[in-house]
Amino acid sequence: MVRARGLIVLTAAALVAFACGSSSGAAGSKGTINIGSDLPVCTVGGQATQNGIQFAVNQKNAAGGVNGYTIQFHGFDDCSQGAYSADVGVENVQKMLGDSKYLGMIGPYNSAVAKAEIPIAAPQHFTMISPSNTNPCLTKEVQAPLPACSYHAADLRAGNANNYWRVVTTDDYQGPAMADYFYKTLNITNTAILDDSTVFGVGIAGAFEAEFKKLGGTVAKHSEYKKDQQGSDFKSILLAFKNAGAKAVYVGGTDDQNICIPRAQMKQLGWDVPFGGGDGIETTDCIDQATGNEPGILATSAGADATQVPAAAQTIADFRKAFPGPNDFGGYTMQAYDAANALMAAIGRAINDANGGTPSREQVRSEMAKTKGFVGVVGTYDFDQNGDTSLKIVSIYQVGGSLSADAVAKSTGVCGSKTAKDACFVWKTQFDFAKA
């Protein structure tokens, strides 16, 4: 089944390439350069992200290709049994590395896959640009209070020059962004923190606490729980928060640890205060868990929301014409579009380095490393030596309840699946840590 779909994608890609190649005439006369992607195409998000790359490549070829070369794009699927798999991702990268026509790739989608792929791609100087990885450990060492990384970014590259970049920022800005939002926007000076005792939950809660205290806020109480021991009752914990004088609750954790059940139970205390967390709660499951008390949940996401960037409006409108399906556009589609264009720009410069001939992978990698002031639709990107972008934007989303059908369509599309199908996360604001 997966193989059959792969074949269809391949055929479609070949047809597109053929069509573009023939229409752009002399532009593609020098031949073709391949770029690939590695995304969980079986998921709605993965497919929507791949569409962004396809759209960028189609546009580029229609405009004459890259320095006389036609770009041929092939999307690899790293799904196994309906979810991303690092093993499949590694196989895909090996396929690309085995074909000398591939000069770079967009992806992967998931940080765990990147951790497995970078060590294989780095020795071959194979350029990787991720549209969506937010785990800080992939590019840098993190500072306390975040938990130390279980591996080192330098070890993934094993002494080779950096070959990995990403166009979104990292999770270590998520906690501080919500702290800023609580303190500066909502004027909350006293909050309680609940974390789920996982590596992610402890880290994001610690980063939130540090920033909130730095701003001058008070943390009334910081409690932690373990899902296996807690069961479903958080009411006594919440009561302790309320009695300690907290005026808001920040949760560090993910929905699979029941982190949004406390939101539902705040109602049973008659306690109505803001409730915020990281991207681990910007999910359908979180809205479902908060049953009866969905509206108002706040969540961060470590990237800009392209639909909120005025400069991206035209490109998104063009994209929608080319990809009209309801799920064709996703949260990382424009990030993938920018990543693909950054890669093709580097390939263009590398062709010049190769005196107009087909460049080596190292030439593409070294040109990508020199990228400065790349103008994408989401923003203007510089990259540091680790591969991180200068665009340090964290978006804040809030659940709106009882939305109209039109408002649901304009939301992020992350809505309740059970009783509250009209409660969805809606973009609220963003924090730019590059300017702060």
């Binding site: 932690e224 373990k226 807690q230 006594s236 914990i237 539902a264």
Partner: protein, 357 residues
Amino acid sequence: MTLDAGTSATGALSILNRFRLFRLGGMTVADYGFYVLCGTAIVLLATQAVLGPQTFFQVLDFGVADGAIYALVALGYTMVYGIIELINFAHGDIFTLSAMLGSALLGFFAVSSNSFTVTDLIALAVAFPVVMLFIGGVNVTIERIAYRPLRNAPRVAPLITAIGMSFIIEGIMYLWHGAVTVGFPDLLPHGPGYQTYIGGVFFTFKDVFVIIAAGILVTLLALFINRSKLGKAMRATAQDRDAAQLMGIDINRTISATFFIGAVLAGAGGIIYGLYFNNLDYHLGFRAGLIAFTAAVFGGIGNIPGAALGGLLIGLVQAFSDNYIGAKWTEVVIFGILIGVLVFRPTGLLGMRVPEK
């Protein structure tokens, strides 16, 4: 050498036992220890009740509601243990399965979470008996397939089949819903009009409903066991299976009835849990079962009022610990108290009903 060590260990044990059972003014040292433990707990809680009565009674309210649900599950453990000395590990999953069945069944009605309608009432009136009877049937089937053929096998064999049934039921629920949260319609009346402050303590209709519903079920069970003919047969079978058989009691039918009634209570508990928390997942029964089983031992396994009391107390300890000590210590506190109680009173709070053989 080995003999020496053995002798001295037995010696130490017997000295310890003699000390434990040393009588002083009519009570043993173990009794004194038990009362000191209870006294300490009461003094600590009374201090909190005086210092911050609002918090104390609020937590008490939460704890009683949770404890009532644990009690309903604990009853199934204690009944089954009382009659065939089997720890039915699948019981927690029976509880979860009934909550999921209830959720699915309520989905067929046009129930409304926003206001309490007649449809909601009809839906609940249908869901409770249907789920309770169905899950009773499931538990009887499990007993027939996985426990009855092993009734005369070594004690550990049915224990393992019970663990197996637990995983099988969890697997079925996983296949059905996956690992995500399963919602349960928020049907009980809630919101303004169904909540009130009494002396600074916030009461909602949900808390009160859970406590009253569980109270009624436990009372009905106690009446059934003590007054009905089948209840008498159960007690007789628990006391001496062979003698009961000689007296003309159908052992298989009595044991099946025990499984049926245990599951009926767990079924009601599952729906009450769903109505109270509105969130389920396939793995819920593992912890709920462990806590309920602990409650049964706490109260004195095999003892029906003991299981109800144990469930209630564990709910209270959990709520007080979450609030006054910290959620990460709650499990330690619960089991610390359990060990303390069992050391001084190995038969549990109300005494174990040991089958006489």
